[in-house]
Symmetry: C2
Subunit: 359 residues, 2 copies
């Protein structure tokens, strides 16, 4: 079913790459398309002649159809925040400074004014958090709350981060822990109804990954300024992200299991559900962390810069000329485990559990 999405995207790329305009001007302002939908990046890139680049991308979120919303663990403020951050994460992944967010908010007749205001407040709060402006968009009715957005940002022309620049020998870096949103689904949708119970603290850690995900804007800017070779946000799971970076760049990757940042709550959920914690951390998780490729000689500078800024940077692997995806652990090298986000499933937790069960 994930193949289905890939196939459809490839149809779109084909349609999109034929006979379209690629340069525009109005007076002294001229734009040229550098990478559109055919490039399969987080955002499209347009160069502003004589200046820098614009990046622009668009994301729908399930919102009220999030499992955790349906279970009562997320509110309207949370989905507003999530909508904005999901869109800003694509801008962050390009190494760009977010500028604006357009939103489509279609709401059902029965929605209260208070709930609607909460959505707006969540969007506004997330815009403020990344220094961007909510530029309006479309407000109207639909049979349920329907949320989508488009975010854009600006970047120096020669610093835009794409997916296809990783080189053999580059180090794979990661800006924060992965797998928590996937573990949250497994816990709240499965473990808890089976009578399992984690501490309030661990539950909060799991929920926070859905309630207040953070687009890694500062980290993306630093990676761009430090000359990272490639970058992508972790929005379909870390394994999926590594695979996409490698495919786009024509390389492979060795990931070191013990270097992966994994939160305690993820290990606790893996324990409850009999799952491999590393496989769980690599699976079908909308993490919004950034994964990047850095030349070995730049690593020390990167580490210093991130440390000075009080941001996390984890060295978690190395890109290789051999195009395999390998997990290095005590037992040696194995194919990189984990499953990608399956946008067609009604039960993502069940898919994750099935794919990450301890052997």
């Amino acid at each position: 079913v994930t193949d289905e999405a890939a196939r459809l995207k490839s149809v779109w790329r084909h349609a999109a790459s034929s006979n379209f305009a690629e340069g525009w001007s109005a007076g002294e302002l001229a734009l040229r398309l550098r990478g559109g939908s055919d490039a399969n990046d987080d955002c499209a890139i347009l160069d502003v002649e004589g200046n820098g680049s614009l990046v622009i991308g668009s994301d729908y979120i399930r919102g009220v159809k999030f499992t955790l919303f349906e279970l009562g663990h997320l509110g309207f403020h949370d989905v507003g925040w999530y909508l904005a951050m999901a869109n800003f994460s694509d801008v962050a992944a390009m190494g760009a400074t977010p500028v604006g967010l357009l939103t489509v908010i279609r709401y059902p007749r029965e929605m209260t004014e208070g709930d609607f205001d909460e959505v707006l407040a969540g969007i506004a709060e997330a815009c403020r958090a990344v220094g961007a402006n909510p530029l309006g968009g479309d407000v109207g009715s639909a049979e349920r709350l329907f949320l989508s957005g488009a975010a854009f940002g600006i970047c120096e022309k020669d610093r835009v981060l794409r997916r296809d620049g990783a080189r053999a020998g580059d180090l794979l870096v990661l800006t924060g822990p992965v797998g928590t949103p996937a573990a949250a689904l497994v816990y709240f949708d499965h473990c808890k109804s089976n009578g399992d119970q984690l501490s309030r603290e661990l539950e909060d850690e799991l929920l926070q990954s859905w309630r207040r995900p953070i687009a890694r804007v500062g980290e993306g800017r630093m990676l761009a300024e430090l000359g990272a070779h490639a970058c992508q946000d972790v929005s379909d799971g870390f394994r999926d992200t590594v695979e996409q970076l490698c495919r786009a760049s024509g390389v492979g990757c060795r990931v070191a299991a013990d270097s992966l940042p994994i939160e305690d709550s993820v290990c606790a959920v893996a324990d409850l559900a009999g799952l491999d914690p590393v496989a769980l951390a690599l699976s079908a998780s909308v993490d919004f962390e950034l994964a990047g490729a850095i030349a070995p000689e730049d690593v020390d500078r990167c580490r210093e810069r991130f440390e000075a800024a009080g941001r996390e940077l984890h060295l978690v692997g190395e890109f290789t000329a051999e195009e395999d995806l390998i997990l290095l652990s005590e037992g040696g090298g194995h194919p990189l485990p984990g499953t990608s986000w399956d946008h067609m499933t009604d039960d993502p937790a069940a898919v994750t559990i099935k794919a990450t069960q301890r052997r």
Copy 2:
């Protein structure tokens, strides 16, 4: 219920106008917000320092929930085209050159590859028609086909057309006929099921307004170049558009009934349904024509320019210092009739019929 939407928009404007960034830079590229969601224009406007301006807007369309889609008169190609044109119409209304379109396409499990491809082909065809590029966006699943978009364009800084610039004495111009989409709903959703039947030719004219609406990009550019004082696209009905232009500009308007471009099919539907054809033409119709304000001394130049380009330009009224909306007809002056698009109704045709019945 339309008040509801207005109220919500005002909440959003309030949220959006407080404490957000309004300037951004990356290297040599700097943007400054000129008008965001608080300006209540068709698009947000960002000035590129030293160059021109970007305009950007976002629209959702009902698509498979269009009455005419549900009745079998529209196909997937049509809704793809409509999605793109609805978004480009906002760019056209600013006097800008469309550059790119981002799309959100969420599709249900049971959708066939052929139908999906038709949506893409419709989007692609509309992008080509206006010289823009489909920049990708979000593809994934949902319980039904959900379509939204965001379009952006560029304009010379001092030529961006806003809604608030109309002055008393300016002439109200219109780029083409209004009311056909509203008449199509009345005919196919009401008259036809009552046994009424128009000729194939008139039926096609009605359907074409939904199947192949045209964003008036060339017209918007000409209005900008000719120094129009204000502009807006007719997307909630012509009466609503005149009201919004007047409210934003602090003026009133006298519309001359016999100057309004109204298609034969609209008159025929009015006749069948016992409606006032002018009121029908002014009502709740997503027309995608542009309504603009032009200084009297510029009118001849405008007419010549539009004629040379083979485009329509109708002088349909005059803006006034008195803030009333008046329709001038043989019987003298009356309040401007017509009803605005009611985004909450399940039966837009019934609303239009009720509001435009012949006295």
